[in-house]
Symmetry: C2
Subunit: 713 residues, 2 copies
């Protein structure tokens, strides 16, 4: 990566002119102060699949892959389908294939490359995700080798565009309740047939990418029924359109029409009216049917079988997490570059207005998002490695899979919401320019919007995390003998009660009293933040667990009502867990850096992340007695101080994201603003020099008043 | 308004079937419990200009005025221009005209009607706002009678579409620094001419509605220069295109192109290369130039003159406040209607899934927004009345005008941000359906997005509010004699220090101890909430004022740096003020209601608003000693209890918004979801009755296990 390929690095040069004459309270650090090694941090952010990311970043910079700014839905869909064919020709998804299908089974590289596409056009990314990450993956993950050989090549080279037909209008997140049926008919065809059927309107498959126009086949999730028994949801390979694109008999399709974003994808609905497919079109790896209708499965428990089949979905969540972080990086690159060039209102210097980035409020709105984006990037790298371990087969035990799913469910909601908040904040921070489509922020928000509710609705995912945390907590209790449980609970309750005594940690006060600097330093200690975030995550789970300990003995209806009474707390516990996970990943990432300057600057960024998380939940920390009033009162000031400490590093921090020209297409972040500012400044300079500038009426009046005062004296 | 014109009222009937069989912890209140009188609350929300609103609501329901779902920028612009011509033919803006121009000078009615347009198409609303609210208004407010007679008729009937050319690329919010010049040339033309000139790129007028295509004239804000003196920014009437739509000599225009929303408006740029216009094209009400170039003004101070001329801008802020509230109402109508019909996941009843609205998390995400929307609606009515008082001339004193501007600056940011948050929350709460354009939420978010930064950037407006609050505070100090100021400050500081002692209000604890119900009741007392919100608003201003008291003696540069160090706190103080204003307006609105049931239900909604505001800033209340730890610990539980208390009233609460079919075009809120749910339920009912439903594998296994256990016993 060359220096001139970096727009942010380029603007950094410009910035140094600015910060030599700072209007913010804290000047640039002197020469000896820590400075970020952009190259090294950039390398760290690239992570394990750096090469795949670099190639994908070059690809994403190609104009023919970019999002159009003004197109009808039909035009955008055509464009993206053409782009998808380009990607197919270049065989970009080959890394996902296992060895026996001619690939390297390099799932980490595949997902890493996929994530980078978000800065070209999120529609292209998600269209590729539907085709290869979902539809093809379902065949690879759920089919036997014969089925893979039959259908994967056409899926890869796009001779068979496909839909991933899971979601139904009536059931989005609750896949277990899908109503489409696949009923086995042993007398059908040569060797038995499945009858795929949509029993009512709410069972139409909906929101499926490729379904409205391009899909020739679909991996359809339906209840497998044979010999009068419903074996639950399984996946079937169902041709839906012929070579000319005409719907096959019994198949209906509707177009979802225009959406809030991602309009390059032809989302639509599919329904099946007793559509017959061969017996061997059941993707039978985890459940198969013999010609006589006998059902067999390598996994005995129907519940575990179901969740194993759904395991393939985790890939989507992993890649959305990484994509959301990348989108945040692009947004921050644009808004921060602009904020270091754009000037508005005079403050210190009457001949030069103040650059936006020097306003406290501007730092306050952008820097915590920058910190969270760093935290999210390091956390994502851990998730991607866990994913690669499982999907490569190196760690295929159920615990690794469950841990992976919990981590994905923890991070995907956090990062997709962060992206939406960050992009919106960046858009507003750029004022009217932020609302222009050419400056990319609005389109990015529109496209990323649905990332919060598809591939696992964020709220539902956080609820899964909370349930996992609760069940882990309960398992701990299981290690205690029966008699001990009562004691254990009583003891925990006592600890909690103590925590609820305000200022239990009087020691904090005594240690810090009268020494704001010391308190600041101590809150910036990693141990302090780790303890606060870890204890919070733990206690919030404990509190819910204790509140729900009676539910086990209740009727299902009463138990459900009891759990529902604590749903908001459960989600809150999951979010606390997410903060901890990201904080730890960030800290681990920093420890791995060699350059001392980079470590110092990123530690400030990490502290900003950690202290912001604590401050956002400060009432809870105060009420639980975990943070003293004195520290509580200190924290906002500490956060402001961190903002100013980081001010000189903002362009380095975004430069490390390696967002390149081509990714950045926003004129406001490509020098346009600086050029205008320079031209205006030159104009006024020349005017002042020439002495032919008009005098302002106010100045004349002030002079006259002064003269009058002098006369009356 | 008839009952059958109410979609929400209609769905209320459906809902009663649901709530008879509730799965939430708290059932419908029995017959004797309070119930909202929808008709009466609806009437209260209509406010003083009810008739104008009713007519405008009928208009907004007409399909020919609705937002297209899929159109290119060019198509959408054409459509909206046609719609604008319809509005012109129907003379909808006549109420704004003063008597001598043939109108009733009914500014309140004019703005009320304008606000209602937002549910038809926000592009149409803003296009109308540009033409009549800004461009025509500038002529009416800043021109003399001759100028009004010459240009207003063509502006009203759209023979002269116009642009309001204030903002420059380089200066959005800082109007005082505009760089376009209007230099007087007494030798030009018959009677002297102005030379309008754009000195550099950053001085191009930008983001102007109508500028790209439709505008034939523009009200251009430029620095008035005559006899070598710069008299500051004034407004000029400048023809920009001929009858055929060709740009006039010296005028340049560029198209802003596609935007994040509002794409029915042709925003663009304008620049002037020594364009000459007659002397009499200066809109001269507050500053005029004689043929010889002598400048005169009825307002001596250049600063006050400038802000008086800008006073016309307040109309835009007032109307955006009302429009944002209306948009929130539409979004809540859609999401809450859907949430009472959509079912997902079984909990209590194995044959029926739970309706979304019965999940605690769903109540938690939507109801506080509903409460804030009510608060905002009552606050807006007060703002509109204040606006009408000033613009009708009944209250034209500077204080009334200043109060109006402060109130507009307080409410416009709050309501436009509330609208964005509410729409986004509603969109996510509707899952994938929320992302479909036909369900309106995504388009609403895209269009409303820019409401946060145009007509006064929200952050800048809040800063104005903070400055006003600070200067009011300082004025109080002025009433104390010189020697007294020191004492006053010392005394205030002491009070603050006391407040900072944790649990100064030990009394709260003693009174409440061991009685959660009493604490709940006392926090729901209006006096408690009022005291908390008022004291907070007051103390936050005091704290900034005390922190800044040294700045007065500093150099301008140091003072600016000092103020900048407290910018985030200033914005926070302004937000606290906005909470108080809205809470009071809500409370006043409730007091005016006659129906006891409505008062009771809305008091719960008001409490939800007040306690949410307190809870969101709970750490501050705890640290300031204003709320005891015990109450602090109580408040989240109280909020949850309020959610359940309000659960049975949600459809009544949205019905009172009077959002009609035609405003609601979202299929998910027009019965489509209920129909699908009913069909699916009927299917499963029939299947259970017929006994030919397949048995689930899990049920078989459970039965087999049981049998095995029985055998081994």
């Amino acid at each position: 990566m060359t220096t001139d390929s970096r727009t942010a690095a380029a603007s950094r040069t410009t910035e140094s002119g600015t910060t030599a004459d700072p209007t913010g309270p804290i000047p640039l650090p002197p020469g000896g102060s820590p400075r970020l090694d952009v190259e090294q941090v950039s390398e760290a952010l690239l992570g394990q699949w750096a090469e795949a990311r670099r190639t994908a970043r070059e690809r994403a910079a190609r104009p023919e892959l970019h999002r159009p700014l003004d197109a009808t839905v039909a035009e955008h869909r055509d464009r993206v389908f053409g782009q998808l064919q380009l990607l197919a020709e270049e065989d970009v998804s080959r890394p996902m294939l296992p060895e026996h299908l001619g690939g390297p089974n390099d799932n980490g590289a595949n997902v890493a490359a996929f994530e980078e596409l978000v800065v070209a056009d999120p529609s292209l990314q998600i269209k590729a995700g539907v085709q290869w990450g979902l539809y093809t993956s379902a065949i690879v993950q759920l089919g036997n080798e014969e089925q893979q050989q039959a259908w994967v090549p056409g899926a890869m080279d796009l001779t068979t565009p496909g839909a991933f037909a899971m979601t139904e209008i009536g059931h989005g997140s609750d896949v277990q309740s899908l109503a489409t049926t696949a009923t086995y008919d042993p007398s059908g065809g040569e060797d038995g047939e499945w009858v795929i059927h949509t029993p009512f309107r709410a069972a139409w498959k909906d929101f499926l990418g490729n379904a409205a126009i391009h899909a020739k086949a679909a991996t359809v999730f339906a209840r497998l029924i044979t010999k009068g028994v419903d074996h639950g949801v399984h996946c079937f390979y169902v041709p839906v359109r012929d070579a000319e694109g005409e719907l096959l008999p019994g198949v209906s399709s509707e177009d979802d029409g225009p959406k809030g974003g991602l309009n390059g994808i032809d989302n639509g609905r599919l329904a099946f009216d007793h559509v017959r497919i061969p017996r061997t079109n059941l993707l039978g790896r985890y459940g198969d049917v013999a010609a006589d209708g006998t059902y067999t499965s390598p996994i005995e428990s129907p519940g575990r079988r179901f969740f194993t089949m759904l395991g393939t979905l985790v890939q989507g969540r992993v890649s959305l997490d990484g994509s959301a972080i990348r989108a945040s990086q692009l947004a921050l690159h644009i808004a921060i570059t602009y904020a270091t060039q754009r000037r508005q209102f005079t403050a210190a210097d009457p001949t030069q207005e103040t650059v936006l980035m020097d306003y406290q409020a501007h730092l306050h709105r952008l820097l915590p998002k920058l910190a969270a984006t760093y935290a999210g990037a390091f956390a994502h790298e851990q998730l991607l490695q866990a994913f690669d371990d499982v999907f490569s087969g190196r760690a295929e035990d159920p615990e690794s899979r469950e841990d992976l799913e919990t981590l994905a469910a923890t991070l995907k909601p956090t990062s997709t919401w962060l992206a939406l908040d960050t992009i919106q904040e960046c858009r507003e921070a750029c004022g009217g320019s932020g609302f222009m489509a050419e400056n990319q922020l609005v389109g990015l928000h529109q496209d990323l919007d649905v990332y919060a509710t598809f591939e696992g609705d964020n709220t539902i995912l956080l609820q899964l995390v909370a349930k996992r945390l609760l069940s882990d907590y309960t398992s701990e209790l299981k290690n205690v003998d029966r008699a001990g449980i009562g004691r254990f609970i009583a003891q925990r309750a006592e600890v909690l009660a103590k925590r609820h005594t305000p200022w239990a940690r009087l020691g904090q006060n005594v240690a810090d009293r009268g020494n704001a600097r010391r308190a600041f330093d101590s809150m910036r200690q990693a141990e302090f933040q780790e303890e606060m975030l870890a204890d919070r995550a733990r206690v919030k789970v404990e509190e819910v667990a204790l509140a729900l300990r009676g539910a086990a003995k209740m009727s299902p209806a009463d138990a459900a009502a009891e759990v529902n009474k604590h749903q908001v707390e459960m989600l809150d516990a999951a979010r606390a867990h997410a903060d901890l996970v990201r904080w730890r990943a960030f800290t681990t990432g920093i420890e791995a850096l060699e350059d001392e300057g980079s470590r110092a600057v990123l530690t400030d960024v990490r502290d900003l992340f950690g202290l912001t998380a604590i401050n956002d939940d400060l009432a809870w920390f105060l009420l639980s007695g975990m943070i003293s009033a004195q520290r509580g009162r200190q924290i906002e000031g500490d956060l402001r101080r961190l903002l100013w400490r980081l001010r000189p590093h903002v362009l380095d921090l975004v430069a490390a994201f390696d967002v390149r020209p081509g990714h950045v297409r926003a004129p406001i972040a490509l020098g346009g603003e600086q050029e205008r500012q320079d031209e205006a400044a030159a104009h006024f300079r020349a005017q002042r020099a020439s002495n032919d500038a008009p005098v302002s009426e106010k100045a004349l009046r002030d002079r006259a008043k002064k003269a009058a005062r002098a006369r009356t004296r």
